[in-house]
């Protein structure tokens, strides 16, 4: 009798224990419309089967994610268990106690996680701050230069270019070459008196597009960051002004309206064959490669972004950008959240994602022969990541981005001179970095 009761109790406990596992539910916020998200949704059933955790997956447009995440954490309701964090927010999230440190979790499951497998530059940009692991990196993007191989390899173009500029037509190594090439390709190809081919796209809508595309030039022009070691602004220098003036001078070689372009317009323009070059984030590679969305599928390639020589050294400065997972401090399901994060930053998931053309964060995946065979271009992307720069680190990053982005936009559209724009930005920046 007693044994029967005991075994019944045991059975009940087991059932309760198992069903508790099944009833574990987590809420995840992610950026809307990412290819990685697509892969995640497809692998979600596998995750649930392995761990018994069901996932509520909420995708929100990028522009609204940070607002939603910050207000939600401060509301302290445990609304979300996993948040997706852009690398530029990491400093703020860490310093303001928005996410919990993950160092202990990582060391506990170190074998499974294999943290050293993450690309070093990526870890610095979107994972570790002051020796603490705050976020787990999932996506790592870097700016690169897309260009039209058919235009660059055309014999007439090659000889015309050599005659006009005195050197060979190749993907530009320096910003001066970039400008020459942009000028060269801005032309009327149909003979109707209207320019229909442009040298390059530009993506300069306020504020963060303006900022990130100015940054790649600013960094290589000045070989310095926007803030110094004490987080004080140092961008209002002759080099900074020169970089901004350079950007403004590209206006005539870009299609009309670029001062208001977001990613969408510039990739649409390049994919439709409107420009010869397109400095953009590598993540758009699949878009250009897909016959459903691109007319230039076999006619383009990718190069590293141009740079500037500083004492015989060519300084290229693609910006790094990406997304990582963090666990909000008010989450009530941290263990389950961690399981999710492990899975979605794990090797199996990333291999799957990489084969589909998504931009992952693990060295082993980028050097995996199978992946490289399918996407040989990943080799270049890895190189870009390894020479990449990260954007300024401060809690009030959003304000700094807004200030500098505003200055870039103002100078570009002629509202004021580069000097004036940067000066005003510096005044604001001084207040922000007080």
């Amino acid at each position: 009798m007693f044994r029967l009761l005991l075994s019944l109790l045991l059975i009940v406990l087991i059932i309760v224990g198992c069903s508790n596992n099944d009833r574990a539910q987590i809420n995840v916020i992610y950026f809307a419309g990412l290819p990685m998200g697509q892969v995640m949704k497809e692998m979600m059933p596998e995750f649930t089967k392995e761990t018994g955790i069901t996932v509520n997956f909420l995708e929100i447009p990028y522009d609204n994610v940070r607002s939603k995440e910050l207000t939600s954490v401060r509301q302290d309701q445990g609304a979300y268990d996993v948040m997706y964090v852009d690398d530029i927010w990491m400093y703020e999230y860490a310093k303001e106690g928005i996410v919990i440190p993950l160092t202990d979790y990582v060391s506990r499951d170190s074998l499974e996680v294999d943290f050293d497998d993450f690309v070093d530059k990526v870890v610095v940009a979107e994972s570790i701050l002051n020796d603490t692991i705050w976020l787990m990196p999932q996506r790592a993007d870097a700016q690169c230069l897309f260009y039209r191989t058919d235009l660059f390899e055309n014999p007439k173009n090659i000889s015309d270019f050599r005659n006009k500029y005195g050197y060979d037509l190749n993907p530009p190594e320096t910003w001066d070459q970039f400008k020459d090439i942009a000028e060269f390709f801005t032309r009327d190809t149909t003979g109707d008196g209207k320019i229909d081919l442009y040298g390059t796209t530009l993506t300069l809508k306020r504020p963060h597009f303006a900022f990130e595309f100015f940054a790649m030039r600013y960094w290589s022009f000045t070989n310095s960051q926007f803030l110094d070691g004490n987080s004080k602004p140092i961008f209002n220098t002759p080099g900074g002004v020169e970089a901004l003036n350079y950007l403004v001078s590209l206006k005539e070689y870009a299609p009309p309206g670029v001062s208001n372009w977001q990613h969408d317009e510039s990739i649409t323009a390049f994919a439709a064959g409107m420009t010869a070059m397109c400095p953009q984030w590598f993540a758009f590679y699949p878009t250009f490669n897909d016959p459903n969305t691109s007319t230039i599928v076999d006619k383009f390639s990718v190069a590293l972004v141009p740079g500037m020589y500083h004492e015989d050294q060519l300084v290229r400065a693609p910006s790094i950008g990406g997304g990582s997972f963090g666990v909000p401090v008010d989450s009530k399901n941290m263990e389950a959240a961690w399981e999710f994060i492990k899975f979605m930053t794990g090797k199996r998931f990333m291999k799957n994602a990489a084969m589909r053309g998504a931009i992952v964060t693990r060295k082993s995946i980028y050097t995996d022969p199978e992946v490289l065979e399918k996407h040989p271009i990943y080799d270049l992307h890895l190189k870009s990541l390894e020479i990449s720069w990260y954007r300024p680190r401060l809690v009030r990053y959003a304000e700094l981005q807004e200030t500098i982005g505003l200055a870039v936009s103002r100078a570009f559209v002629g509202e004021m001179s580069s000097q004036e724009a940067l000066k005003i930005a510096e005044e604001s920046a001084l207040e922000i970095t007080k």
Partner: protein
């Protein structure tokens, strides 16, 4: 003779003006409709294609979810968002009309010494969302109404009361006081007089208000974004999901926009029946 010609030419100008406006109104929406029926690669083609075979895959993806490579957003629960939006908009409209028409009656009939009451109503609409969204959220948290449809219904009602009150009260003011008095003489209480006489006579204003309130609630974005989580997410929040970091998925965005506008279109057509008061002058008993 001369006045006839003037009359005719005025009429022609007037009709052309309104026709032009109809074309201007419908053109962008028509363009969105066309775009929603195109595959993504046609979006930037110049000159823009006008004749092509319609392709409904965008609609299929939005409504039922779909694979479609990297350019589709698998939509789970489109119907849930639709339901949420519908419930919120309907209840907001009913609540706003209920409170609003009653208040309009008071304002229209009671000769107030100052305009303060009317102005106070108007001021409810003046507050920009940022200032009150956080304290409102705190209030909702206090009563446990976070991520609920009720929180949106309440705030939408507050925003739409000014419109309803001002509009309907202006309309009621044009109803001669004799009708109220006749109703009283016939033995109606204030309330039944209001309900059975004034309200039916104010149909154009009430129905128009209903339409405006419904549309507002159906399309509102900011409060819906911040105040809702999973349970009460609405259609506008869904629609903006197509603005992604890698670009705007035009085909599906326009398809969603068209889908969102169809219920309003149908509703407006139905509402037309009640917008015109007709020539009845007698009081129906």
């Amino acid at each position: 003779m001369r006045s006839n010609i003037i009359h005719k030419s005025v009429k022609t100008v007037a009709i052309s003006f309104i026709s032009a406006w109809v074309i201007i109104s419908i053109f962008p929406i028509f363009w969105a409709l066309l775009t929603s029926l195109k595959p993504p690669i046609e979006v930037a083609s110049m000159p823009p294609k006008l004749l092509f075979l319609p392709d409904f895959s965008n609609y299929k993806t939005v409504l039922f979810g779909g694979a479609g490579g990297f350019y589709s957003i698998v939509q789970e629960g489109f119907w849930r968002f639709l339901m949420n939006s519908f419930v919120i908009s309907t209840i907001t409209t009913i609540l706003t009309l209920f409170l609003g028409t009653m208040s309009s009656y008071y304002i229209a009939r009671v000769k107030l010494k100052s305009d303060r009451l009317r102005f106070w109503f108007l001021s409810l609409r003046m507050m920009p969302p940022i200032a009150i969204i956080i304290p409102f959220y705190i209030m909702m948290k206090y009563v446990g109404l976070v991520d609920s449809k009720i929180s949106l219904i309440l705030i939408y009602t507050i925003f739409n009361l000014p419109l309803t009150v001002w509009f309907v009260s202006s309309y009621i003011r044009t109803i001669p006081i004799e009708y109220d008095q006749m109703a009283a003489i016939d033995g109606f209480s204030k309330w039944s007089g209001f309900l059975k006489v004034i309200v039916p006579m104010s149909k154009p204003a009430i129905i128009t208000s209903a339409l405006l309130v419904f549309i507002f609630s159906w399309n509102e974005f900011l409060f819906a974004l911040i105040l809702t989580g999973f349970k009460s997410k609405t259609l506008p929040v869904l629609a903006t999901g197509f603005i992604t970091q890698r670009g705007i998925i035009w085909g599906q965005l326009t398809a969603t926009a068209i889908i969102i506008i169809i219920p309003i279109f149908i509703m407006t057509l139905i509402a037309q029946r009640y917008l015109s008061r007709g020539m009845t002058l007698g009081i129906k008993r």
